[in-house]
């Protein structure tokens, strides 16, 4: 990773963190009614993995956090308008913040049912293969979702047809209140790759460089027609499952311990040591993020609600 790429990932991590903090404030103040699953603590892997994509690749993000959209370059204004159910977003109030979509950047949208993403990703891979292109599909999902049947059917179908799909598992240890060791028989989700004769790799999800390198390698394999890969990025969800989650199922000690491994200060420290990031740059990046968010919130607040009868539109093409 070169210096500018590292800074780009860092900038996106900061922007994502600040945006989620702001969204939490907006939701708690009742200014928006969005149903948001925060990704605080998982920004490193999300920003780093997406940094490895080409502009014409396809992305199926998971339901946790805003970093996917930030890293892919979707304007914050649009994300906020979707969150608030206003005009000016990407889905005209139909899908909320859970269904941010951006065809220009290959962002296909999101499955409301967990695990609905896998067959869609498989289909996008099929499309690339039929048309003979060298794009790839990056499909995020959580440790809990790896227990859906669609995961297994899709891994197998992609493997037998050698479809260019990278499956990236964000293992944050919890499926809402269910710890991974109780939901999942294998220790590492990556082990499941063996069942489909696919390479499976475990990386530290809080280390952007490890994640980036693994995704680059998997994408290369996909583009060269060798088929899918499975990457498991170990991480931790620092906030509750949703904004407002009482989070009563985890001990405070456990959460405290993981805050000490918050990827943002760790990456800052590393970049500072390498001489990539100075204190003044840090404050500049933070101020820049806040200013961007202020502008986006202001834009969102001026947007009108959709016409009520537009609820009847978009069923059929």
């Amino acid at each position: 990773m070169d210096r500018s790429l590292k800074l780009q990932i860092y900038r996106n991590m900061i922007l994502s963190r600040r945006l989620e903090e702001r969204i939490a404030e907006l939701i708690k103040a009742g200014q928006v009614g969005g149903f948001m699953h925060p990704g605080v603590g998982q920004e490193a892997l999300q920003c780093a993995a997406i940094a490895a994509l080409r502009r014409d690749d396809y992305l199926l993000y998971a339901h946790r956090g805003v970093a996917y959209w930030v890293a892919r370059g979707i304007p914050l204004e649009k994300v906020l308008c979707d969150l608030a159910g206003r005009e000016g977003g990407t889905n005209r109030g139909k899908g909320g913040v859970m269904r941010v979509v951006y065809p220009e950047l290959g962002v296909l949208g999101e499955s409301g049912t967990l695990g609905g993403c896998f067959p869609i990703a498989t289909g996008a891979g099929l499309s690339i293969k039929v048309k003979g292109g060298d794009q790839a599909v990056l499909c995020f999902f959580g440790d809990g979702t790896s227990n859906r049947g669609t995961f297994h059917e899709s891994m197998n179908l992609c493997a037998v047809r050698k479809l260019p799909v990278v499956f990236l598992c964000e293992n944050n240890g919890w499926a809402v209140s269910m710890p991974t060791e109780r939901s999942t028989a294998v220790r590492d989700i990556a082990d499941r790759a063996k069942g489909y004769a696919v390479p499976g790799k475990v990386v530290d999800g809080n280390d952007p460089e490890q994640v980036y390198d693994a995704v680059v390698e998997a994408l290369k394999r996909a583009r060269s027609g060798e088929g899918p890969s499975l990457i498991e990025a170990k991480t931790y969800r620092l906030w509750g499952h949703w904004i407002g989650d009482p989070d009563s199922y985890r001990s405070r000690e456990e959460v405290e311990k993981h805050w000490r491994h918050d990827p943002i200060p760790a990456f800052e420290e590393k970049l500072a040591k390498e001489g990539v990031l100075t204190d003044s740059m840090r404050s500049e990046i933070d101020a820049e993020a806040r200013a961007k968010i202020d502008r986006a919130v202001e834009f969102m607040q001026k947007q009108p609600s959709p016409r009520p009868d537009s609820a009847l539109e978009d069923v059929f093409a």
């Binding site: 296909l108 949208g109 067959p119 669609t150 069923v315």
Partner: protein, 324 residues
């Protein structure tokens, strides 16, 4: 004009549309090497290659959902389910993905997907013999067609493939061998959402769906000999549904019988009945009669199956009751 079978009509539609448009692909269980368990697709892999015609593992969730994903990204997939009943194994992909992905994402994408669903009781029991159209009429975002003859089989499938929306294409297993005339026009299309008047008459409206249509026509012959000239309407598309065609016919006749191979409760006939309450109550001269499967699963043994499946006699009796 030529005479072809219903199965040929389906195959001709596939071949013609695949030749016409390279983004049309065809896949499913046993469709490529074997040519499909009903042998509709034999020879297609040879003509179009393994990239466009291929077999899938037994993974309905993955391959139906992949049809949605492929449709989102520029293909026009035709996915074959071995039996229409298997729609239930892939409910999320059909109802929530094919039916609602476009809507949930504010119309950002089109989903030009066709799912072929061989339907109908043929001695194959409860999980291979259903005509489950009505289940999917209840979900928004899906188009539904059920052709009853070779010409419609071909014209509707070609139109479905060219449509930018997901279409469930129900092909009745017992109709595969049915023969009928068809035009040679390579662009012979039957528009989705347009009912056919299979036979004109004014004594009674008999709405029949899919394999009920030939039975309805036989009933119409029999009644004509008795002096009653009934009208037989074949909706062909169940979504969009040609409401005016039925309303107009009922305005003329005042009596209606619906024959369908669905379960009675909330079946197609129930929807037609409700529609007539709303749009044509004052034209009804008799109560609606539905000839449908009593609310039981479809048994396997022929004697049991034939007891529950609507047949010519049951349709005839329902008509006679209203004509009395």
């Amino acid at each position: 004009m030529r005479t072809i079978t219903y199965a040929q009509g389906i195959k001709e539609a596939l071949v013609e549309e695949m030749r016409r448009d390279p983004t049309v692909i065809l896949y499913g269980e046993d469709v490529a090497n074997f040519g499909g368990i009903f042998r509709i697709t034999s020879g297609l892999k040879e003509e179009f290659g393994e990239n466009r015609v291929f077999d899938t593992p037994i993974s309905e969730n993955a391959f139906v959902g992949a049809g949605v994903g492929a449709a989102l990204t520029g293909l026009r997939p035709v996915v074959e389910l071995q039996f229409a009943d298997f729609l239930f194994t892939t409910g999320d992909e059909i109802v929530l993905k094919a039916g609602m992905w476009r809507y949930g994402h504010g119309g950002a994408y089109k989903i030009p997907l066709v799912v072929r669903c061989p339907s109908g009781a043929a001695g194959v029991g409860p999980e291979h013999g259903q005509c489950p159209e009505a289940f999917f009429m209840h979900t928004p975002g899906l188009k539904i067609v059920s052709p009853s003859n070779p010409a419609d089989a071909k014209g509707l499938l070609k139109a479905a493939i060219r449509d930018d929306n997901p279409v469930l294409y129900f092909e009745h297993k017992l109709l595969y061998a049915a023969k009928g005339e068809i035009s040679d026009d390579p662009d012979y299309l039957v528009p989705l959402g347009k009912a056919a008047i299979a036979r004109e008459g004014d004594a009674l409206t008999l709405v029949a769906i899919s394999a009920m249509v030939p039975k309805a026509l036989a009933v119409a012959d029999r009644l004509a000999k008795e002096g009653h000239h009934i009208e037989v309407i074949d909706p062909r598309s169940l979504c969009p549904f040609d409401r005016p065609a039925i309303v107009e016919s009922v305005k003329k006749t005042g009596k209606i019988v619906v024959a369908e191979e669905s379960y009675r409760t909330l079946g197609v006939g129930a929807e037609i009945g409700a529609m007539l309450m709303e749009e044509a109550l004052e034209y009804l001269d008799r109560p609606l009669r539905r000839v449908a499967i009593p609310d039981v699963p479809i048994p396997t043994a022929t004697v049991l199956e034939q007891f529950v499946i609507p047949n010519e006699e049951k349709i005839y009796q329902a008509c006679r009751e209203l004509l009395a």
